[in-house]
Point group: C2
Chain length 391, copies 2
Amino acid sequence: MESLKDKVAIVGMGISKFGERWDASSEDMIIEAVYEAYEDAGVEPSDIQAAWVGTLRSGEAGVTIADPLKLKNIPITRVENWCVTGHEALRNAALGIASGLYDVVLAVGFEKLKDTGFPGLGTGRGTNPVYQAGATAPGYFANIATRYFHDHGWDNERGKKILAKISVKNHHNGTMSPKAHFQKEVTIDEVLKAPIISSPLGLLDCCPTTDGAAAAILCRADLASSFRSDPIFIKGIGLSVDPMLPTLRPGFDYVGFDANRNAARQAYEQAGVKNPREEIDVATVHDCFTITEMVIYEDLGFSPAGRGWEDVEAGTFTLEGDLPVNTDGGLKAFGHPVGATGLRTAHEIYKQLQGKAGLRQVNDAQIGLCHTLGGTPQVACVAILGNTKGQ
Amino acid sequence: MESLKDKVAIVGMGISKFGERWDASSEDMIIEAVYEAYEDAGVEPSDIQAAWVGTLRSGEAGVTIADPLKLKNIPITRVENWCVTGHEALRNAALGIASGLYDVVLAVGFEKLKDTGFPGLGTGRGTNPVYQAGATAPGYFANIATRYFHDHGWDNERGKKILAKISVKNHHNGTMSPKAHFQKEVTIDEVLKAPIISSPLGLLDCCPTTDGAAAAILCRADLASSFRSDPIFIKGIGLSVDPMLPTLRPGFDYVGFDANRNAARQAYEQAGVKNPREEIDVATVHDCFTITEMVIYEDLGFSPAGRGWEDVEAGTFTLEGDLPVNTDGGLKAFGHPVGATGLRTAHEIYKQLQGKAGLRQVNDAQIGLCHTLGGTPQVACVAILGNTKGQ
């Protein structure tokens, strides 16, 4: 068992405008994202030797995207893995390159949620849905928040004030992302006074329902310099499926997820990361709710267990902090068009590591991490990228 | 761009009973297939480092199969690609091994069609369905038969008699497959007198609607001998998506498919096959309808273009012929539980190349081919397997 480290480079990326895209079809959004990636990499559609497309519920897309993307007679595979779907497109594309069979491939993900009757992500389990009253995603993560507050001896007022800082941070970062769904500041007071969705979580603790697409062009690392002077290298990709819904496991503590921890462990091992807090310079993580981002800090080792809130209070994860998280505004600003999200999180890290993140650029970012979490939560993916070989 | 050739071995396979499995859930069938594969390979669930699961419409299965298969905290990815879905599980698992990241992985595919309201596969195009009156799979392939008959100057009686031989052959082979859905002989007369489904195709020209699952354990080729004395090696896997529905392309000849030809070309190049008729010893192909098997003979180069029927008349593709095709009975006997089919076709080749195909064993099979076709038809996969490295 070898590592992926430095075998695969990303040489182009693109994202569509994220938002309520009533005016655009799935194909329109895919074209926006992929042609931006083609142009960024300096490739033609005929250079692409294989493709992977991620979508959860926007159709059987493998055969659909060939025509709009001008992909002729190559393999195009649809991948799906709940909210980790976009990361699966990236991961399988990377495995395709590392296999030696393909030199240049495309990963693309998209989702159309606004005009397809999307009812929200439930807590079903694939072929055996376990639907329960209140078992929606907000209801599930509200339980996590309630438990987190309880463990720290906080009342809702105290707990919500801390979570609100995550919302304020991500909304602020989103104002510097021209393609984000939301590009407006919110205040602590606005977050605290927002309508309750599932107590203690209010509207501004939750990510919106959004359409979008994102894409990456990957190639063999040894070919990367022929495409651009600043390729980004894949250092490791971990993915873990928890065999049980955490809530079905006796002793589940409701303040963290094995899927996160195991995906991170795999990725850190591949990348040779021993101390993520020190070694990761910038990260994008799955802030479907503010409390989710909080427990992710702890699951990924950015903060000690139970102490993510101290780092929130200290501003560690702001743009000016030691470890900026969700520098583009995260799911809070970009929403969660499911198949797109993993590639959108990778897009931000790609831009940060190239020093091309505009107003939201962090200083001297060399190693970045992107993360998604899905299945309430039963599956997580962590990818680590770097801007130099051999880091 | 290297080849997959001899990088990846298959060291265990299993299939469930195929049929009307009203008594069994998807999990039941997956367990039948995968535990047979575990036993065949001599592995424990804890030996599996990553998995790929293929299903078209039986749910978001990546997180669902972990528990019944005892897969703990590893990556499990759902893949989908119309009727090629089962082959995608095999292909992506093979890429995972060839990448170097994993040493031992699982590919599994399944579909539950009988009790899920399955309406038949239409001719929709993913996110942009093009449904038309009569545009069902039988209606589509009936057009292919009509054109094939016309090109050869045959009336329906003459044409149907030739196609009937394919049905009789596959039903005969199915009698020797204990896990096939149908295990009964049919006569030419029965095929000709069967109710018309879409003229000229009758009931016995069509594959049935079936539940089933199939699985494979793959490992690095250099580790294969530690699992078994008769591993099977992957020589090449081609997959091609046609960017257009063939029927939308001006000049489409209705007697063959670019997806088949391009997938075969990719696989032959990887495997170093120059003359498939001579070099392939046994094959399983996508006989969703008798006419489909006929045009596949020609698309894959088993027969010259327009002359597959002469080889049917000569018995070339029977168990005793020069190039036995669908030795296990094909889709005609096993039905087409979509996610399972590609792996079921691979299972037959695996058994034939090991000399373990029982009553249906062909003589001295060393190189075999399995094929699936999907998307009316816009996508095809061809995998070539061999029982010796370096062939």
